[in-house]
Symmetry: C5
């Protein structure tokens, strides 16, 4: 589990709550439901205008994925590819049919299945690459939604603060209420800054990083399937795929 993101999130929220606790003002001074609705609701509304309904609905899932993303174990993946290559070398490509059910990586599974079914290497590669491109496009859209939320949240925070200031300025008969009115007006800007800098912007960065990492795993999978189909020796495949690992892992058993 990608514990760094979770720790970071808890730390950021903890620091903000801690600062409030250390101050003199009660917690209630920082809670204003309408302000929260303008910022978060407004950012989601703007995102709804920008993206299809289906993509927006999936965005909480995408956020969860940032916190729970485990990363593919590339070494295990390479070992499995090498094993498949050994079977294919010893008993022929068709012998892989019985093993397809055990493969977890969907790209390797699709590729091996197609190879067993007799598709030509060109067709197999094209299908796998089209698939990876589609995955990449979905990742980009996910990151893009977070980016837009992180851009619209402060904008709606400013809209809320401007509305609060206008209301406050409209009625200045009671000078003692000015401070409180202004405090409420500023809360919307605070909410916009918090949701953008604690959630949306860092999550967008993380999604970009995760996507770049996943692309490397996909490349290993495609190269592995192509090498198995072209009958390369398991040892050569092992050597070739291990260049994608960091130096320390390269010589691991």
């Amino acid at each position: 589990m990608d514990i760094a993101s979770l720790i970071g999130l808890i730390l950021a929220i903890g620091l903000i709550i801690g600062s409030i606790a250390m101050g003199n003002a009660p917690f209630s001074a920082f809670i204003d439901i309408p302000s929260f609705m303008v910022v978060v609701g407004g950012a989601f509304a703007a995102a709804l205008i920008c993206f299809p309904m289906g993509s927006i609905m999936k965005s909480p899932l995408i956020a969860l994925k940032v916190l729970l993303n485990k990363g593919e174990d590339r070494l295990t993946m390479i070992k499995q590819i090498v094993e498949l290559a050994e079977t294919a070398r010893r008993d022929g490509l068709l012998a892989l049919e019985s093993k397809v059910g055990d493969i977890q990586n969907p790209l390797i599974k699709t590729g091996i299945q197609m190879a067993v079914d007799g598709s030509t290497p060109e067709v197999v590669e094209e299908v796998l690459r089209t698939e990876v491109e589609a995955i990449q496009k979905r990742h980009k859209e996910g990151k893009s939604i977070m980016d837009q939320l992180g851009r619209f949240a402060p904008a709606y925070g400013m809209i809320g603060t401007l509305m609060g200031l206008i209301m406050m300025l409209q009625d200045m008969s009671d000078p003692s209420g000015i401070g409180a009115g202004m405090a409420v007006a500023l809360i919307t800007t605070l909410y916009g800054a918090i949701v953008a800098n604690v959630f949306f912007s860092p999550f967008a960065e993380k999604l970009g990083l995760n996507s770049r990492n996943e692309m490397v795993s996909h490349e290993i999978a495609i190269r592995g399937v192509m090498a198995i189909q072209s009958g390369e020796s398991p040892r050569a495949i092992d050597q070739k795929l291990r260049t994608f690992l960091p130096p320390k892992q390269r010589d691991a058993e």
Copy 2:
């Protein structure tokens, strides 16, 4: 119908009106016709300087298109291409002449008509690609107008607020009027922030997304026409074009 954009728009406007309703200030405190004219009029004036008259006149239509855009049903398109391919295979290219009237997609229509008229594949492809490039250029201009409106609206909002502040500061003999004067000055900035973040910026994003999606449909159309003209088998065409669909749709009947 692309209901997400409409829902997003209603939600954003609803949140803003709702926040005002929940406050103490009357609605009238948020209405100022001259401020509205400076922001929206100013943004349109700046856009008029940037773009040809014809493109600006079409921009309300473009905005409507964001709300009502339905998206091309790519599966239906592929099925129609496969049907045309079957007819061409069975009865020859010329047999397609009677079917041209039924084709709705303008690119496929133009392409098939040209193929029937005896144009070479190279000429057909060049004409279709030139057409798609022209469509893309129009899309880019549409997005660009929205982008510029979203950039000039807050700028003219700031201009209006500065003018309001200067007027207010000019006459501070009546301290009780300062609050109201400042409120009016801030309304222009509020209007600029609202029209940019509720309308222009999200609409620009959406137009960009729609255009990228449409380009995929155009690619399917061109590839389909080229495949029909070169006499490929309907089954092969079907397989090839379905790689453009998301995985779930690929096996649909």
Copy 3:
């Protein structure tokens, strides 16, 4: 004449003057010569540091060009090229010598003259392309000057306002003068925002658009000259060049 830019400019200025007229403050409250000099003079001074004297001197002309730019009539251009092609086909390339004087487009004129003088097609194309590149470089510099003016005007506006505030804060013995002092300080920021968003930034955008349009006309001219020199049939030239026109114009006589 490109009337949109002129209308946009008049509209933007009209809106600003109208808003002032509707307010209570006299026009004189918005006029401050030193502020104007700091903003416009400062922006031009910064541009003088950035660009050669000659380019800066031409910038008012460039601004005028935005307002009066007429656009090349591409259809007429294509017709003239086709006419030249017909003459060349009928009476030989040398027969074009007598017609060179009538050609208005300078690129076509240079190209035909060179062809008549016996330059090889490679040399003709290289000279014409070098010329177009030089035109494009001049356009880019023109746009770049407007961009920099639009960036430095608000910066000098802020400098002026800061100076005004410092002067005002220096002498607060007479509280009744604070408002007026602050109003004057803000005028510089207002001027910076107005000249950037009414003139420089939209003009820069327009110059970019005009340049991209002009490049298409230059491409038609070069392709036309090359086709004439290589002896293509007038009908083929006509067809080929018309793909550069929008669909509606393509079948025009």
Copy 4:
């Protein structure tokens, strides 16, 4: 040692401390632990969400690397490569085996070891280039962490200031405390600006520059190893690699 970064850092900190010392306020007026925690803690928390734990943990080391980076002595490197080439020419590639232990540059070491072990030049080059790409990726991540810290620090500074203002506005019963309250609120923004502009942003720039410089050294190493393996004359290798040096160093012994 890259003394410029250290001098710059001391100078920047000295200027800030000096300015405070020259003012009337005590140093304690600029110290506020909770503000410091919100800014630095918040920026690190946001970075933790963006990047894997391991990369974040290494970031203080990376910062230290900026201060202590010595740069590779390229001339010495080239001389060593030429020496190896002379041995290889005189006594054969295998004679390099005894010298591998003396080579300090890890890329040259790996490359020569592989060459001695009989790997083909293609394999040697691929392994070295993959290694350099991995180094470059690590450098990019290091710079990216500094960039994000430099972006989030001012954002959390603003969050802290907004919280301080809201607390202060909540309780304005004692007007004499308003000034002090506002001062404390502003400290968080000050901290955000300082850590971003004294540490994170300049460090990110420096890391980018260091990485670009290191890439040149890596290129010299790879070209050198390839030239040795292909048996080029030591003199030719010397000439070729010296083109990577600045002109003044090129003729050095």
Copy 5:
């Protein structure tokens, strides 16, 4: 001499001094040594962290170069190349040896010397291109230093103003001092805006423009040397190199 930059600089400074002179406040109100040190010292300190000591030390020289840059006279350069070509044609390449001492352009000098010494055209071109790349890299670093100074100066201006505000807010016992305190605080922001917008940013732009211009001269030099070495006719060289001149200069004697 590039008099535009000098005039621009004098004009910008004159406008600022003039505005102060026209106001009521004394000049001394705009002078604050500690503020100046925080802004300029801070920006240089940050640049010291980003760049090697040597590059920073050369930056005042680079700034002077902006003011005094004369530009290469390309027509004279072409004429000299043509002259060298005539000698080479008439008396052979070796006859150029006696003329090398008279050549001022260092690239032409190096190239001709190498050609006379018998280097192959490939080697000559590679050495000259490597040299031009190194020049370009130095130019980029120079521009980059100015860009960073123009970015850090306003940042340190803000840091100084925040420190001033915190000091002022700390001690509000004497209301009459608040105005003056705030004025001093704002001076740092003013200094940051002035040094960025009068010096660093325009100078960075100018350095970029100068570098692009110089690259064209270097291209003429390289092409000329290559043409001389390959024995092209002086007339052809003249024609070819003149396409790099603006149209008006092209037919000059």
